[in-house]
Symmetry: C2
Subunit: 211 residues, 2 copies
DNA sequence: TAGATTGTTAATCGATTAACAATC
DNA sequence: TAGATTGTTAATCGATTAACAATC
């Protein structure tokens, strides 16, 4: 078993291929080539083949890839062949939007709780989930064996929330608060900044002379 | 004037430095070293200096960087030294959450309109913004000289919306719909997928053996 | 001057791309 | 067999890192 280091960009592209294959599947297409996938997601055919080659041989030379099979393989690679239980901490604008966001469910992420410390928010319902007090976070994570915590609280309390999630037993955190979290190395962490995307755009506009 | 190609990762880090400097400014700190910035945002000191070196010499050897000056320079580089007018198209869960999200305002992005085709959503208000019908999108973009459009409609209508925004004159698009948009090359585009962050986490958990 | 920290170079590392042999 | 497309290699390209001369 080779232990090649996989570039993160490869994982992100695999996620894109998988999403594109879902669309293709719906149209009833059976076989697809690396060139078609590449065009569908906006990368090069070599990229598609190289990315897949990290994980095995999924195609047939001269023929292409079976859409269903390839989709199955990619979902396996991404570990989306199971349900992941997640909680959201912070029922503000962003947290509640994520709670209602369908995109997570579609990919196998199941929201089992949303938490806030604000009494005004506790008890509010989003779809079939009710906002619970932070006090109940630890117990819920343990009882429902939550693997992933999504942090949408202000930066000032993000570390505190992260500590609760970690001690309760989550394996991974998705942090939307603009701060650096201090975590034990066993925890997988990703920081997301929504505004940075706009800033890359403005920089690019600027360097093209479009003030 | 050298026309070095700037890595996108550099821009993203500059955005992080800038956010960190905001915090530092509030604490009243005057001078800061590349090492301190690096620790604050979780990168290497060499990275900080290299990233800044693309754009000029902002520090003093043996001393460090003046916090306010450096912040000013970075905001200039990112073109955040002005107000950017944006519209959101799609007043669903994600669109309305982004409409209320404070993080954009803080960085100089000013929301001047939110649009939807659903009569049930038209007229709803978020903070001081009212959801308008799509029919009014073209006129609003032109009148208010909107530079950036944020697309939060379903993938099926994203291209249609993008076309309206482009013909009305926006320079850049931030697309949250999971699809490939076909745009004239003058348009700056960034695609954002919220779910992909979770998928990178699950992949990483998997490759560490934590199923 | 001695100590500190920048700006910059050169070496390393990793990712992308092009090309082609393998093979359906 | 001829045509097509994969899997893989090798070449290119770009980004990160370490190290140090410049200089406050």
């Amino acid at each position: 078993m080779k232990t090649l280091k996989i570039p993160e960009a490869t994982i992100i592209r695999l996620s894109m291929y998988s999403r594109y294959l879902s669309q293709v599947e719906e149209r009833g297409v059976q076989m697809i080539s690396s060139g078609e996938i590449a065009e569908g997601v906006g990368v090069s055919p070599a990229h598609v083949r190289k990315d897949l080659a990290y994980f095995g041989e999924f195609g047939t030379r001269g023929v292409g890839y079976n859409v269903d099979e390839l989709q199955h393989h990619i979902l396996n690679i991404l570990r989306l062949n199971r349900e992941w239980r997640v909680v959201i901490v912070g029922a503000g604008h962003l947290g509640s939007a994520l709670a209602m966001y369908r995109g997570f469910q579609e990919r196998g992420f199941h929201l089992v709780g949303i938490f806030d410390s604000d009494p005004a928010k506790i008890g509010q319902t989003y779809d079939d989930i009710t906002v619970q007090p932070i006090d109940e976070l630890d117990r819920t994570v343990k009882e429902k064996q939550v693997g992933i915590g999504i942090i949408t609280v202000p930066a000032t309390v993000a570390q505190e929330v992260a500590d609760i999630l970690v001690s309760a037993g989550v394996d991974a955190l998705l942090n939307f608060a603009p701060c650096v979290l201090n975590l034990p190395p066993r925890i997988e962490l990703r920081n997301v900044d929504l505004s940075v995307n706009l800033e890359v755009l403005t920089f690019n506009l600027g360097s093209r002379g479009k003030l």
